[in-house]
Amino acid sequence: MSAARGNLQVAGLAMLLAAVLLAGPFLLYQRLVPSVPAALTGLGGDFTLQSFWGPVSLHDFQGKVVLLYFGYTHCPDACPAALGTMARALRMVPGHWREQVAGVFISVDPARDTPERLRDYVRFFDARIVGLTGTRRMLQEVAHRWRADFSLPAQRGAHYAVEHSTFIYLVNADGQVVGLFDERTASEEMALAMQRWLGRVQ
């Protein structure tokens, strides 16, 4: 074996070693310090809506990681499935972060979903979920900024269904939307994502 070839091999090995040594911390950094996907920047934003207990704003949750969903209580399938998944995810977050996670359910059907009805509906799933609603105009404005579509039928009898988007938004402690799920996402995945973002909260 020539000396030149030997040096090349040593250099190659050194590079490999360096790559391995650097990859670990890099992957760990990526895992611990999640980033906001570019597609989500500018989505969402602060709002003030009504709960049974009074007005609630998104900034009231500063310091907490939040799961947020738009729906309505007369929805038999998608909404209870989404809230059930959100509630399970909240319960999966370890105890020391118990009060640093929350859920928000925004009803886009204010004609039927009074703040009192919403309070009873959400607390069935988890006491950390708050039920909010507002005037149609306010809801339209919030939904627009959160790119959540909903449409109420023009002719509304005693019973009607509301078409709505099924996003479950992951909101970080600074009020930014940092992830999107839906009712088909595993609770484990949501819980893990919440913990990753909580890892950055001191």
Partner: protein
Amino acid sequence: MKKLRLPLILLLGCWSLTVQAAEVEVRDAWVRLPPPGSDTVAVYMVVRNMDAQEHRLSGVSCDEAAEGEFHAMLRQGHAMQMVHLQGVDLPPGERVVFAPGGMHVMLRGLRRMLREGELLHLHLHLEDGRRLNIAAPVRDMR
């Protein structure tokens, strides 16, 4: 004997109207426990048509609810729309699945609160006039 024939025929007639239609089978029916105050609930199940001919579910009723309907969920991108179905075709030899995110039976105007574990009795109406009686356990999915 002749005197007995008519009542017997009538009796058999009634029996065949209400008893389970052997060639259409319902399995794994369950009800999602609704939150308090909610009078709307979804029922899920698997319906199998073991017959060589097509059947059709034309309606659903429940003594504990004002109305029952079949619904399909239309997912367009990330928006979900519930569509009221007048009936559900049961092709010969096939399974039709009612599951979360897909088709479901919606009961509206529940007359009382449901409890986890109890059985809710429903009637599925076939287009040929027969009725399938099913008992669906209430499940807490939180």
